[in-house]
Each structure stands twice: as C-alpha cells, then as structure tokens.
Amino acid sequence: MAWTKKVMRVNLTDGTIGEEPLNMEWARQYLGQRGLASKYLFEEIDPECDALGADNKLIYTTGPLTGTMASTGGRYSVVTKSPLTGTIACSNSGGFLGPEMKFAGWDMIIFEGKSPKPVYLYVRDGHAELVDASEIWGKSVWAADRILHTRHQDPQLRIACVGRSAEAGCLYSAIINDLHRAAGRSGVGTVMASKNLKALAVRGTRGLGGIKDPMRFIRATEEGKKVLREHAVTGQGLPTYGTQVLMNVINESGALPTRNMREVQFEGARNISGEAMHEPRKSDNRPNLTTNAACFACTIACGRIATIDQNHFAIENKPEYWRNSGGLEYEAAWAMGTDTGIDDLDAATYANFVCNEDGMDPITFGATVAAAMELYEEGVITTRETGGVEYKFGSAKALVHAVEAVAGGTGFGKDLGLGSKRLCEKYGRPELSMTVKSQEFPAYDPRGIQGMGLAYATSNRGACHLRGYTVASEILGIPEKTDPLVSKDKAGLVKAFQDATAVFDSSGLCLFTSFAWTLDNVAPQIDSACEGDWSAEKLVEVGERIWNLEREFNRLAGITGKGDTLPPRLLKEAAQTGPAKDKVAELDDMLPEYYELRGWSTDGNVSDETKQRLGL
C-alpha cells in the first residue's frame, strides 16, 4: 500500500487533534501528495475564502513513495490557498521531514482554524500535541530549530518552521525544513504563520511497511537507480554542478531575464554560475562551493553547500554566517543575481542564507528587489522610501539591505514583502511587475524559450518553472530537442510536461528524476508499492485530472482564463540581443490550441465533457 492510510487533523482554534482514515477512493484517483491534498483542499474549503483567514486550511502531505527506498523518495508538499496569488498553492520540498511523517505513521496532517496563541505541533509516532511556542515566536527558523532540538533532546527530530518574515506578513514566506530545504513558493509559510503555527516537529520510529510486492518493488527501485546512475545528467552533471550549471547555458541561449526582464543576457552571468562556485576566490583562495548534498534516499545529490568569504562586506562582522550552509540553486542565483544585475556571488549566497534563515522564497524576493530597482532608476521611489539606500541595478549593498529588511519585516522590507505586483501597484507602475497571477517569474525568458511563455501563463500557481519545464526539451534536448524560438506545436509539449509533472509531484519522488526517467520508469515503482494497477497510461490520466482539479479550484476562487497572460513587456518589447533578437513571447499563437487540447472552452474553462471524462 505504501500509504499509511492515516490522516491527522489538527483544529488550531480549539486545540483538538484527531485521526481519520485516508480517503482511498481519492487516493486511487489522485495518487498522493500534490494531487491528493489538492482534492482534500478542493472539497474542504471555499476557494473564495481569505487565504490568511481561519477558513483556509494548510495541508502537509506525502506521496506513496515518500520514505521508501525509491531514489529521491523523500518529498513532501504543503497545499493551501495562496495569499500571494489567490490560487491553489502547492509547494514541494525535500530534506527529511516527509519521510519522518511517514515513519510516525501519517500520510497527511491537515491544519484548520487559527490558534489563539503561538503554538507548534510536536509529533512522536502516534502521540501529537500542540505546544506553547512563545519561546520561539519572533525567532528565525535557525534559532527556533536549535531551541526545539534542545528542548526535546532529540537530534533526529525533523522540523519544519516559519521565520520572522512570515510572522511579519511577507506574502511570499516559505516553510523551511532541515534548516535549508524549502516549501518555497506562493506564501505557504505566510499561511502557516497566520494560523499562529510556528513549527511542525516530527519524530517517527515505526519505519514504513505495507509495500504491496516487496521483491518486485526492490527490483523496480534498483532498476530506477541504475538508470539515474548511468544517465549523464543525474549521474554526473547534477551532482557536480547542481542546477547552477544552467546559468551559462541560458545566458548563451539568450533567454536569461536580466534587470527585471528588460534584457535577455547578463554580462556578469559567468561570475555567479555553477562553474564560478567551484573556483577559488581571489580574496581567500577558497571556493564558494564546499560540497554537494543529498535529501533522503536521493542518489543524485544536487544540493549545494556553500561558504562565504569571511571578509565579504555582507558578513564581515557576522560570525554566525562564517560556517557553511545551503548554497545557491540556479533560480535563486538568477533572481538575486541576474535579475537585479548583481554579479557578486558571495552577496547572493548571503541573501540565500538569509532567505533560508527567515523563510522567504528567493525567486519572488529577488524579482521584487529587481522591480524596486527599476522603480528607483525610473525615479518613482527614492532613498526616502528605501530607507536611505540607493536601489540601483547591480548594487550588492541594496540586496543585502533588502534581504535583512524583509527577513525582519522592517522599514522598506514591509513594501518589499508585498511582492512585486502589489509593490508596483502601490507606486503606480503595475506594468513593471514581472508576474503571472501575481507570482514572479523564474529564470527563463519566454521570448527566448517560447514554450515557457505558455507554461507560465497557464500555470495553476502563477508564474513558475516547476509546473511545466519545457526548458528540458527546448534548450537541453530532454527527452528530445525542440526549437526554443518556435511557438508552433508547443501547446502539446506544455500539456504533456504539465500532466507528467503533476504525477511526479504526487508520488513522493523528486521531479529531477524526470531528466532520466519517464513515467515508464516510475510506473513499476508505484505499481509494486501501491495497491491497485498503476500503468504509465493511468498515471498520465491522474496527472491530467490533478491539473484540471487545480484549474477548477482557481475558477471558483475567481481566477479565470483572463489571467492566462504575460506582462506587456514580454508580449510587446522584443529581445534586443542573442538568438531571440527581435522576438516577443508569442502567447496568442499557442493559447487557443492549448485550450483545445485541454478540452476547455475558448475562454479557458474546463468543459463539462472534460470533467466527466476525468471524473471530476
């Protein structure tokens, strides 16, 4: 079965904790994690509710392969309604928390209501209690983590926590687990803090049983690991250079959004790339990169552990940052480097540390700073608004000022904590926000990678690369190469990536396995672990069902096909350099075909026929 078939329900308003069976009928339709928790959320809340009100719910959810011996089987997700976008939110994280939930006997923990005072949930196997959190409220994730480990005298306690930014109302606060793994996007941490819930601390000692066919599961997972090991990307590229290897690839391809997406290539890209992280600094002769790291059961190990030069201005009097910690991933390096025009690797690494320490999504944070820099350079805001700091593109000092201000919720940090959409609206220049459905873009310019324009516009959680990563095909040639400058035939590509991604996100596996695996590699692992019959074809149908359910949630929340668009800059201002020179994002050429392939109406609503076909 792989599922524990148990759900914990925590009512924060009255402090009660209950246990109920997992809805197995829904599990057969939605598999687990992203899909299954989205179904629970869809059925249990009013999509029009206030995301930061007591009526919203926050669901910690695992997949059926979370905690198993399947490679990368360590993922969990947090599903809720987003305060940033108003859409359904699902943020996925690795580390060790998800498996610990399973080892304690829980597939899912549903938080509802709002606690009258700050609390954290302590779980040890079947025991669960809400504990007063006054000692850790107001503390960073890292400080709270230390206090909880000391209080419970258990080094193997796994902790997910929100930082000071969430408490201060930053709309893109993340939930951080294991110190530097993040359920990062869409403000899931903000929702957690709005419920006066500071942390989830879990210890599980029961292991994981109930695999349907253990011998077949062992063979299937071993075969999967062999594929990952022998594939050049998952066996060599990702462990060595991490995701940051993309910085030069995307820059050379002319699709690296630069200075709030005004340009598509960055002259300083190489200085903040994966290659640069390996090279000794001139200042202290040590590289930024200390080592790679792996999440639970992962045989890829793409994680970055990094150190900053102790004499760098950002940390010269801050010894707490002199040790190593979670380093830059590509999206974070792009947002806090390229998009702000900053090529200072250590400054971006410091900002990344603080995003982990106080729980912010580095993509939205960096992109919001980039928008603030354009507002500053346009003369819309001045040092009076920023607190005396010049927010010029390329200013590492502005980045350091910004990250500390948002982390603590102080001064200009309150403005920056709104995200770029609300920031630019506040100062009368909404067109300078580079967002879809109020969420900021990641590191791929749709003028140079056309399919990504459609993927961003139709993503169910606002602009995001992790809902349909056609970069794999259009730039990297995985599974097969398509032309990034052509919009023709991209509608089908985007749909295929979106549906397959929903399956990976619902399984407990890491999406990065999809660089080497197809659903033909995943299906035997799920089928041998879980009751029922799970073919690749069935999984595709599950993925499509999940996508349409999320779409329906958004429609009921008031977010319709009108939101399937891109900022005017990307639709009207052509790229000025590189292979995409003179091109804009050709969204209008792709969107009607996409709606048709999805079985939606011409205005983007899921048709009754499609609902019936998918059993929605």
Binding site: V245, N248, E252, R270, E275, A472, I478, K481
Partner: protein, 83 residues
C-alpha cells in the same frame, strides 16, 4: 580563422591555458566544422551534448557538415540540466 571557443562544466579543462571565464579565442582551419574543432581540442565526443553557435543550437547531424565563420562563438556542454 579565429573563433571563440567556450567549454563549460566538466569540459572546462579542455580549453587552452590562456582561457578565461570558460572562453578562449582560438585559431582553427578556415571552414572548420564543429566536429573538427571538437577533435582539435580533444573534447571527448561522448561528452559533447549541447552545442551552440552564436547561441543557436547546432543539431548533431549538422556538426560535421556546417562550416563555422570567422569570429563565431562555439559553446559546448556535456549533458546538463537543472531547474
């Protein structure tokens, strides 16, 4: 003719000693193809995955036939991915 050769990730050490920031200006025969240049600099063929000429993808079937022009930029990666 002179071109700019850019080798990234694990291919970086195949660049000439005077290379900087993963790039070097190199002398290659007139009308050289990408494959000829790859051989000239002893880049392992099985590690050549992504090949861009001036940022534009050069498919495998054209790497041995399409001649480069003076001052072109030839950029090569092994299999990589991220996200």
């Amino acid at each position: 003719m002179k071109i700019t050769l850019k080798l990234f990730a694990t291919l970086s050490d195949k660049l000439p000693a005077d290379a900087s920031a993963n790039a070097a200006e190199v002398e290659v025969p007139d009308d050289a193809t990408a494959t000829q240049i790859i051989d000239q600099f002893q880049v392992p063929g099985d590690m050549v995955h992504l090949v861009l000429v001036n940022g534009v993808y050069l498919p495998p079937e054209s790497r041995g036939t399409q001649a480069l022009n003076p001052n072109d930029a030839l950029a090569i990666w092994p299999p990589v991915a991220g996200g």
